[in-house]
Each structure stands twice: as structure tokens, then as C-alpha cells.
Symmetry: C2
Subunit: 191 residues, 2 copies
């Protein structure tokens, strides 16, 4: 039993193919118009194939979100270790939202996901930890809730910027150099 964990019989690696197809589809039509059947067609399988690997639509999106959080954590960690500047972690946050929009569109939408999924939990916990690097630690910031005020402020500002930008709520002029604008915005924070 358990012939092939995560492996392949008929298709090769359908699980992987479906995730990639989902990401591509979300990139084209948005998560709101994502159709399981379109994803299946894109991967060259029948419309019911995804259900076997992911249970349901939320299951597929959960797998995408988990992968997204992993990549996200990687990007944030890279930024932190490269520059040592927490502002640059914030820039990386928004950079990821822009460059990997399909992932980002899904990652922070629990209503689309199976929030009890252990893989998602592990990955999102990892990306969450990366966010606290730099703001947490020495500073005071009451930890009555799980976060320091500085971490909450930083998270809120970069997340809000990313959401408003991606949704198109900003002046289009910002699209020319979102990084530059964001850098100035983040500098408005006291650390």
C-alpha cells in the first residue's frame, strides 16, 4: 500500500500539474472566476479528477495557498538575510504580491480554504514568523495579543498597500514604481 506518495501513475504528477494549472488560471481570470473544470481541462484530465487529490475546490486552493506561503516565507527570509533591513522585508512583501499575484490572491482568504489543513498551517505559520523578524525581540510593544504593536503596524501597512494596489484602488500612476512609493510609505513608520 501507499505505492506512490505524491507520485504518479497515469498522468505523471497530476497533483503538481493541477496546482500549476490553478495558479495559471487564477493569474488569468482571478480566483473569483476560477473554475475547477477549467483547471482540469488545462491539466488534460477529466473535470472530476481534482476532487480525488484535493477533495474539493477549497482543497485545491488550500494546496496552492500552502505552496504560496512557503514561497512567500522564502522571499521574506531572503530579503531579511540579504539586506538586514526590515523595510526591505516590507518591500519584498509587496513585491511578492505583485510578482506572484495568483498565490497572494488566495493566501489571506480563509473563507476559500480549509483552515484546518496541517500543511497550510505549517506554511502560513512559517511566513508569519518571518514577518515578526526585525520588529519583535528587543522592543517593548505589549504582547498582550500575539504581536508587538510595531509588527502589527508593519504588517498592516504592507498588506493594505498590497491589497489596495492589486485591487486597483490606487492611482494608476503608482503602478510605474510601486516599490519606490512603498519604500517612502514604510518610512512613515516609527520602529
Amino acid at each position: 500500500m501507499v505505492h506512490c506518495v505524491n507520485a504518479s501513475y497515469h498522468h505523471g504528477d497530476l497533483r503538481r500539474a493541477l496546482i500549476e494549472a490553478a495558479v495559471a488560471a487564477v493569474g488569468e481570470v482571478g480566483v473569483g472566476s476560477l473554475s475547477l473544470r477549467a483547471v482540469a481541462k488545462r491539466a488534460g484530465v477529466s473535470h472530476a479528477a481534482p476532487a480525488h487529490h484535493f477533495g474539493d475546490k477549497a482543497g485545491l486552493l488550500t494546496a496552492v495557498a500552502a505552496e504560496g506561503h512557503d514561497r512567500f516565507a522564502d522571499a521574506l527570509e531572503r530579503a531579511w538575510q540579504t539586506t538586514g533591513d526590515f523595510v526591505e522585508v516590507g518591500v519584498a512583501y509587496v513585491r511578492f504580491a505583485i510578482d506572484h499575484r495568483p498565490y497572494f490572491e488566495i493566501m489571506f482568504r480563509p473563507e476559500l480554504l480549509h483552515t484546518d489543513d496541517p500543511e497550510l498551517d505549517r506554511a502560513s505559520r512559517r511566513s508569519r514568523e518571518m514577518l515578526h523578524r526585525g520588529t519583535d525581540g528587543p522592543g517593548p510593544g505589549e504582547a498582550a495579543n500575539g504581536y508587538s504593536t510595531a509588527a502589527l503596524a508593519a504588517w498592516s501597512v504592507v498588506h493594505g498597500f498590497a491589497e489596495l494596489l492589486l485591487a486597483g484602488n490606487f492611482d494608476p500612476a503608482i503602478d510605474d514604481d510601486p516599490e519606490g512609493v512603498l519604500r517612502e510609505v514604510v518610512r512613515q513608520l516609527r520602529f
Copy 2:
């Protein structure tokens, strides 16, 4: 011709009833699971009735979003004129998101709306202007794009806080006193 603008024949004021039914439905199941047919049933009309008043689903959501932006602008203006403190405008921003969640869930999601609708344009422009009160004006903040850096930072931080809070991405402990936490978060901004 044009017997009754916005008025009532068979039903009373179906347009109004449908908007209220939509708000109630979004409050219960979220905008993602909103069904036009459920809204119609809630208003006591046939499943195709909404189409006549709003064209399509996006049309109904557009009307809801426009009404939301009007109420939103009212709330922000009230906060500004009452306190004169821009921090309190930010608090009112998040307060609105919490207290009128169904509206807020829709207002900043252009992909769900008819963004060319004149009513929506007027209302959202109004709420946008309220946001710039207090940050704009005297300060420098390059206006290369439409906003000052301070306004962008303030908007981003309150919007991000609201989104993360509503989506449930924060520690549940914050739900006890989101206003208090937000006030400290906003104070992390230099004005």
C-alpha cells in the same frame, strides 16, 4: 414615460428591498457565496426580478457598494468633524469595516463591480476625499501620483488592519479590543 424613478409598483420599493436583502445575505454567508436567487427569495420575488433593476449580479453589488461608500464617507466625516483628530478617522475606518462588514466586503473589490457606474464613482470619490482630509494640504509629500505619502501610509495601514482583522488573520485576542490596538498601531505613523 419614466413613471416612477426609484419608486414602486407591484412591490413597494423592490430596488431598496433587494439591496437590503443583499446586505443581509452577504452578512450571513459572505459575498463569495452570495446567490442572486437567495436574495430574490429573501425579498419575496422571483429569481429573475433583480436582473430588471440591476442588470446582473455585478449591478446589484455595485448599488450596494455605492450605498456603502456613502455611509462610509458619512462615518469618516463624522469622526473628523467630531474629534478633529485624523487618528480617529482611521479608527472610524476600521469601525465601519467591523460594524458594516457586508458593505466593506464589497466596496474595495472592483472585480465584483461595474466600475464605470456613475453612482459608484460619485460615492467612492466622496469617501476617497474624506480619507485625504488631515493628511493632505500643508505637508510636502510629493504628489507625483494622486496622493501624499502620508495619506497613502494612513490609508494602507487602516485598510490592511481592517482586511487582516475581518479575514481572521490576526490573533483572536485582538477581537476583544480592535479599536484600542488599532489606535496604537496608527500612532506608529509619523504625520
